[in-house]
Every structure is written in structure tokens, then in C-alpha cells.
């Protein structure tokens, strides 16, 4: 009993290290692809795909400056917290046909909570750096968090509720269950439209969660010179850039789990290790497509919004789209 318990713990620890490492590497790699694609769309050559790795290693050997006005332990702790929590969310994510590492311990509601922590980490870091720019950035990040939570939760709840109607016996908020039962197969035509609306909602929430244009008001380069991150340098900034890369993977994975959890291994009648590998590769391709749509494409196609416009956008139009999607799914279920 104790031996099996120990073994399980060991597997979990090794798994955690592997997932953390892969999450960071894939995150940085996709960041490089994102930058390259954005550059090509803007008629530029763009940096090489390995640029984010080079940036990271360069930042690691740079001096880490803590400003005089900063509160050092919070200032240094915020990037670590942001990165750790971003990676932790990955442990709850099913990847392809691989079950999440912390299977059975947490569900999508926990993820909705965990997703706020990187943002809070950045807010805390911004407030503690003692710079007016970072201060304004932190205020904006808080306002933005309050704005996008409602549409985000609407999406999650809608899908959970639909699953609970279809499979009352299952633990419907568990990501494994959601991953195994794609929403599109459960709904009628009305619900299908509703699900598309929910997907749009999540696609609009993602850039805000990642502080990307048009919702990058907290970091706005031309206004706040980097906002939240203005005082960060060296190792701390490197950790924030890792956290950003991992968060991108997390948000794209969330979209995949909620809307596109399909696997292709059974099409090739594969099983065992090959099936896992094929599904993993398919998952990575899906990840790339989702990142392209939700991050790269949106950020080259629009201008930055002001913070009041961001709040309005989330509270009124995006919330309405999300609630409409929820209502359509409910209607669909009731009518059928």
C-alpha cells in the first residue's frame, strides 16, 4: 500500500517536471511561431523562431534590478507565483488522449479560479514596483479582470450545464468528462449556434487573459512603456515571459478542451503508444491553429482599445453574446 502510494507520488512528481518543461518549451516555441506569423502578416521578415528562447537566456544573465521604491519580497515573488500557477493549470489539462496529471483532484471551476491568479500576480507585482506607470497598469489589469470574468464563466457554465443534462450520472465539471464528450455532438441546431457564440466569447476573452492587442491596455507600450512590467528586468522579466508563454498554451488548451476535444488516433486504427503520439501531435496542431486565430490574427488586425472601451466591450456586447449562447443551449435542451 505504502509502496504503491510512494510510486504514484513519484510518477506524479516526474510527470509534473516533464509537463512543466514541455509546457515552457512548447509555449516559447509557439511564441516564436506567433511572432513570425505576425511579422509575415505585417509584411516584415520577423525574428527567427528560436528568438523567444534566446531572449529568455539573455534575460537570465542580465542584472535583476529591484527599484528603490519597490517592496522587494513581493516584487520578486510575483513573477514566481505567476509562472508557477500558470504551469499548475497545465497539470489539470487533458493533452490529446493523455489524461491530466491531477486527474480527479480538480475540475473546470478550479481552473476558472486558477486562471485569475497569474493576473493577480502581475497586479501585485505592478503595485509593488513603486512606479506610476506600473501602478496605472495594475489598476487597468484589475479592471480588465473584473470585465472578462463574466463572459469566461458563462462559457464554462454553459458547457457544464449542457453536459449535466446529457449525462446526469457523470461528474460533469471534470475536464476528463468534458474532453470525452464534445459539445457539438450533444446539441441540436439551436444549441449549435449557441455553442458557436460561446466559442466566439472565449476567443475574445483569450487575448485579454493574455494581455494581447486589442486588450493590452495594462502593458500598453506607447502609453505606459510596458505598464505592469515596466520596472522588471533580468531574471524576473524572464520568468514573466515564460509565464506569458505558458499562459498562451493554457488558454488555447482550454479552448481545445471545451470546444475541440477530438482525437484522430481511432481513424488510423492505432492503439497504445502510437495512438498517444498521434493524438499528441494532433493536439499540438490544434494548439497552433487556436493560437493563430485567438492571438496572432486578432492582434495584427486591430488597434489597442482604451480601458473604458475594454470594460464596455466585455460587460455589454461580449457578455450578451455569451449569455445568448447560454440561452440558446438551454432552449435547445428544453425544446428537445
Amino acid at each position: 500500500m505504502t509502496f504503491i502510494g510512494l510510486f504514484e507520488i513519484l510518477v506524479k512528481i516526474i510527470g509534473a517536471i516533464v509537463i512543466a518543461f514541455l509546457g515552457v518549451v512548447i509555449g516559447l516555441f509557439y511564441k516564436g511561431i506567433d511572432r513570425k506569423l505576425a511579422a509575415r502578416m505585417q509584411a516584415r521578415v520577423g525574428p527567427p523562431i528560436r528568438q523567444p528562447f534566446m531572449d529568455f537566456f539573455k534575460l537570465m544573465i542580465k542584472e535583476n534590478i529591484v527599484p528603490e521604491n519597490a517592496v522587494p519580497w513581493i516584487f520578486n515573488g510575483a513573477p514566481v507565483m505567476t509562472l508557477v500557477v500558470s504551469i499548475t493549470i497545465l497539470f489539470y489539462m487533458p493533452i490529446g488522449s493523455i489524461s491530466p496529471l491531477f486527474k480527479g483532484y480538480g475540475d473546470i471551476i478550479l481552473i476558472a479560479y486558477l486562471l485569475t491568479i497569474p493576473a493577480i500576480g502581475m497586479v501585485v507585482g505592478g503595485f509593488s514596483s513603486g512606479s506610476p506607470y506600473a501602478n496605472i497598469g495594475a489598476q487597468r489589469e484589475m479592471v480588465m479582470m473584473m470585465s472578462y470574468e463574466l463572459p469566461l464563466v458563462t462559457t464554462i457554465i454553459a458547457i457544464g450545464w449542457k453536459l449535466s443534462q446529457a449525462y446526469p450520472q457523470l461528474n460533469i465539471f471534470s475536464l476528463v468528462v468534458i474532453n470525452a464528450h464534445p459539445i457539438w455532438g450533444l446539441v441540436g441546431p439551436l444549441g449549435f449556434v449557441g455553442a458557436i457564440l460561446l466559442f466566439i466569447t472565449l476567443a475574445i476573452v483569450t487575448p485579454a487573459e493574455l494581455s494581447k492587442i486589442p486588450f493590452d491596455a495594462p502593458e500598453a507600450e506607447t502609453e505606459l512603456a510596458g505598464g505592469l512590467l515596466v520596472e522588471y528586468s533580468g531574471r524576473n522579466l524572464a520568468l514573466f515571459s515564460l509565464a506569458d508563454a505558458v499562459k498562451t498554451v493554457v488558454m488555447a488548451s482550454l479552448t481545445i478542451v471545451l470546444f475541440f476535444p477530438y482525437n484522430i488516433a481511432h481513424l488510423f486504427t492505432l492503439s497504445g503508444v502510437f495512438a498517444t503520439i498521434i493524438d499528441l501531435l494532433f493536439f499540438l496542431i490544434k494548439l497552433l491553429l487556436i493560437i493563430f486565430v485567438e492571438v496572432t490574427f486578432i492582434r495584427v488586425a486591430v488597434a489597442r482599445l482604451k480601458i473604458d472601451q475594454v470594460s464596455f466591450a466585455y460587460w455589454v456586447p461580449v457578455s450578451i453574446i455569451g449569455l445568448l449562447g447560454l440561452m440558446l443551449i438551454v432552449l435547445d435542451t428544453i425544446i428537445v
Binding site: E223, A225, A303
Partner: protein, 407 residues
Amino acid sequence: MSKMTYSIPIGPVHPSLKEPMTFNFEIYGERIEKVNLAPGDNHRGIEFMGMQRNPVQIIYLAERICGICSASHPFAFCKAVENAAGIEVPERAQYIRVIIAELERIHSHILWAGVAAHELGFDSVLYISWRAREEVLDLLEYLTGNRINYGIFMIGGVRRDITEDQIPRIRKTLEYYKDIYGKIEDIFLKDPTIALRTKNVGVLTKEDALRLCAVGPTARASGVKKDIRQDQPYSAYADLNVKAITPDVLTGEVNGDVYDRIVVRLLELVQSLEIVEQCLDNLPSGEIIAEKKLVKLLNQLKRAKGRGVGRHEAPRGECIHYIKLNESELPEVWKARAPTYNNLMAWVPMLLGQQIADIPIVIASIDPCIACMDRVTILNKDNGQKNILTKKDLHELSVQKTRRITP
């Protein structure tokens, strides 16, 4: 309830500023309550340098006052010297000057459009518009030998002719811009996010524009029909019947906001294309310079006595050069006044009550050229501190100076 404001400095070095300049803002939440401008970070003593050189050398110095206005400053300066020394410029040179000045306007306005898009966080438009700008820079290089500092202006004319076989190349560029103009207009005037960020932002009323003596597109966007090319036509403009452009031509109303400034600049782009085309159609033949021999010209300038004022409608507004020649090799006074100097104070009414997020685009909306504008920095020699002079002090100093130079 008392308002808790806090202050944030923008500048001297800040990503939203392309040149050094300091702003101190009093902010309440996200709203700007008070604006304090502190220019003087980019003063290079260029007028003093000029007064150690002969007028022909100053042309090249004037060109380097600012990289973008490198046709406007020498244009105004040459006009000032010609005015002072009574030199008549041949007609063909007048036309070539106007062609270069209008090509410069095209490149300056497209450059501005790119910068404005960058300030809005719309980098794609920055890259696309700057790519479109390359065409006119290539043309300028083809005509003058340089992309930026053209070195084509000369007292009494121009240094290079536009030959018959160069004209098709110019027309090709004009066609290129006519082709892509629709796209540029589409991007800037139809894009919903740009409209969201620029409409009713940084409003300058007509009254304020008149009171603060705003010039150029900044004034025209507020409905002031002011353009030297229209009001006091000079060079080839006298033959061309240029009209000042206000935004109501396109949109039917004048709001004086950032959006209107975009509209005015885009319309001026078309206007410049038309002017260049007309100049090419009517290009007279003849000499391109009044006095070919440089030594003779310098001798003539050395003997000249008098004052001259040269005015030119630069892309940013009216650019004035004043020169006083006093029978010596060096000019006694050289004074340059760039358009940004006038538009500076217009920032205050534009920025008050706006949000922090509007600062970059409102600052960029007058197309500031700090290098052109920074002419004065007053330092107290004893303690090295900067003094702030009020209007009264400046008046006092002016009176003293007048007494000193007119005994």
C-alpha cells in the same frame, strides 16, 4: 469630496515620443486634470551655428534642423535670403522647388500616418504605410540623390534639374499613389477600432485654434482655412490655385478631433499628387539657378544689406525663416520658426479631460517635430538651473534687445 490626483511624467524619453520633450500630467484616475509642457530637451544651438557660417553653408544646416522637413527649412531659408538680397529665382526652379516640397509632403504625411497607427497599437498599419512611403523616397533619391536630406535647394534656384526622361518615373510614382490611395483611406477612415480611438479625442475648437495661433493641418482640421499656399501664394503655387483643405470636404462636418486631422492629411496627400502633376504638365523651360558661379553669388550676398522673411507651408504648417544680412560674410541674425512651435500650446486644450490612453495619439496628432521646434533654452549661468520665463519677462527681454540693436 477632494480629488486625489497623482502626477505622471511623460518624457524626456518615452516610447510614445519620437523625440525628447517633457510633459508632466496631473491625473485623476485615468483622466487628465492638468498638463504641463516643458520643452527644451532637444536644443542644439543650430541658429548660433548658422551665424558662424555664410548663407550657402546655412542651407545645409537648415536642411538638418529636422530630418523630415528637409525641404521645408531650406525652402523657407532660401526665400528669406533671396528676399533680403533681392535675387530673382528663375521660373523653372520655382516649379522644381514646389515638386520637391510636395513630394516631401507626401512622404511626411504617410510617415505620420504610420506613427499615428503605432501610437494606437496598430502596428500592422505602421508597416504597411511605411512600405507605401518607400516609393516616394525612392523617387526623391532618383531626383535629388538623397532619400532624406535632398541638398537640392540653392539660393537663387535649385542645384539639379528635372530632365525630360525623369518625368515618366515621377508619373509612375503618382500613379502608384493614386492606385493605393483607396486602400489607405479605407484603412484609416473605415477601420472601426481606429474610429473608436480617434473620434471625439483631442478636440481643438476653432476658437482655440485661432486663439493659440495653430497652423497647418492642426488648424485646418479645426476648420480654420489657413494655408500659406492659398493665402500668400509663392513660387509655383501662385499659378496653381491651391485651396486650404478642411475635413468637411469629405465628412461634411468639422469636429477638430484626431480623426479630422487624419482626414485632412489624407486629403492633402491627394492634393499634393495633383500639384505635382500640374507642375509637371506646366514645367517651364529655362535656367534653374539665378547665379551659377558660387563665388559670384557669395560676393553678391556679402555685399547685400537688408532683412528677409521666407515662409513656406511645410507638411506640419507654416515655417518661417528670418535673416538679416549686413554687408558681411556671415548673416547678422538667422531665426527659424517651425510649425510645431505654434501648435505646441494647442496640446493643452486637446489633452485636458482626456484619458491617459489618449496621450500618445493626441501628442502625435499635431505631428510634432521637437527638433524643429526647440530653439530656446534659458540657463542661469550661475547655478546651471533652468528658469521659466513668463510672457511678461519675455516682453521685457524683447524691449531690452530692441533698445540694444537700435540705438
